[in-house]
Every structure is written in structure tokens, then in C-alpha cells.
């Protein structure tokens, strides 16, 4: 794991929509996924299987987790963020979110569907039980900025 903590997280609108649509598709249960990229910028969204599918918990399938982490390593991508939904509560890390935050180098992205018509996404750094909000920037790639977007598996 890298030691550097995230200062912010950037996503292209297409990736952001992909994350929201994945989470929305599993409501009212929680859903989860991995955001891969470089330097805090997401270039790949990995929707993951929640093996504890309830409206108040998620737990990623370890088999998928191994496969994705190995693929990311092979492609030179880092773990930029871990996302999940809060179907009926605020987009703030719960006690369980903080207890299971083992990757301080990755942003924790939470999308609340309290108002299903207006999903609310927030990002945090969680390290040693300290929760620090960080900017979640959704913007198109700037002119001249090289895309590292990869095709879907």
C-alpha cells in the first residue's frame, strides 16, 4: 500500500455516471465498487459484488477483489477510491465504514440515495479513525490532457 493519503479525487462525468447507475441498480440494498487510476484521477470503475447484500451493509467478494487488484497492478493503476451506497442515510462514513477502512491511501466515496432523484456523492479520507472530507471533482478531461481511459473488461 502506498503511504500517500488522498487530497482529492477526480472523475470524468462518464465514470461518475457509471458509478451512480451501478449503485442505483442495486437499491434498496447497498452496492460497492473500486475506483482505479493514477494520481487521484479515476480511469476505471470496477463494479463489485456485494456478498452481504442488505440495505445497511456491504462486503466485497474477496475473489473479485483479488482479480481486480491483480489486474490493476498489471495495468499500472492504483487504488484511488472505494465506493458504496447509503440507500437511506446521509453520505457520511458509518461506524462500520470507519472500522473497515483499511486503505487510507484510497478515498472513501459514499453516495446517498435518501432522495432517489438527487443522489448525493461525497468523498473522504479515513485514516486511524479520523474522517476528513475531500473534494470529489467531476470534470471532463481537459484539452491536451492525455486519456488513460481503458476499455471495459
Amino acid at each position: 500500500m502506498a503511504d500517500e493519503e488522498p487530497r482529492d479525487i477526480e472523475m470524468e462525468p462518464e465514470s461518475f455516471r457509471e458509478m451512480i447507475e451501478h449503485l442505483k441498480a442495486h437499491a434498496p440494498n447497498e452496492a460497492c465498487g473500486i475506483l482505479a487510476g493514477t494520481d487521484g484521477r479515476v480511469v476505471r470503475v470496477y463494479p463489485m459484488t456485494n456478498v452481504e447484500p442488505t440495505p445497511y451493509s456491504y462486503f466485497m467478494d474477496p475473489k473479485e477483489q483479488f482479480a481486480v487488484m491483480k489486474e490493476m497492478r498489471k495495468e499500472g493503476l492504483s487504488l484511488v477510491g472505494i465506493y458504496h451506497s447509503h440507500p437511506a442515510t446521509t453520505p457520511y462514513p458509518s461506524r462500520k465504514d470507519r472500522d473497515l477502512a483499511f486503505y487510507p491511501e484510497a478515498a472513501t466515496v459514499i453516495v446517498s440515495f435518501r432522495d432517489p432523484a438527487e443522489p448525493e456523492a461525497r468523498a473522504y479520507r479515513i485514516a486511524e479513525d479520523r474522517v476528513t472530507p475531500i473534494p470529489l471533482v467531476v470534470r471532463p478531461r481537459r484539452a491536451g490532457e492525455k486519456s488513460r481511459k481503458l476499455s471495459a473488461a
Partner: protein, 67 residues
């Protein structure tokens, strides 16, 4: 002996168990999943499975939470 640990070449004691490897790396076994040569190892076997030269070992912290 030399093993691959999360893609990096690492040394560990000859015949070390997974439990010994995790303890040496200060990793709490109840917080990780472990794979050896692409097979997930059940946590109850961490102190039984002995590693061999060249084994590919992967460990990952759980990713979970809730609202």
C-alpha cells in the same frame, strides 16, 4: 527463501506458514483474505499451510462497511 508477495519478491523463513508470514509483516489475520498460487486459503488453515520457494502469495484487506 524467496516468494512473491503482492507481486513483489520478498524473503521469508524456509517453510514459514501463512500465519507466521502475516505475523512477521504485522498483519492481523482476521482482517485479510489470503491467496497462495491463485487459491484462496481459509483463515482456519493459516497456521497449517506452509509456503514453498517461489510461491505467489497475495493478501488483501477486507473492503466492507455499511450505513
Amino acid at each position: 527463501m524467496i516468494i512473491s508477495l503482492n507481486g513483489q519478491k520478498e524473503t521469508c523463513d524456509d517453510g514459514a506458514t501463512i500465519a507466521a508470514l502475516l505475523e512477521d509483516r504485522k498483519i492481523r489475520p482476521e482482517m485479510v483474505s489470503v491467496e497462495v498460487n491463485d487459491a484462496i486459503i481459509e483463515r482456519g488453515r493459516y497456521d497449517q499451510v506452509r509456503l514453498k520457494e517461489g510461491d505467489s502469495v497475495e493478501f488483501l484487506y477486507f473492503m466492507g462497511g455499511g450505513s
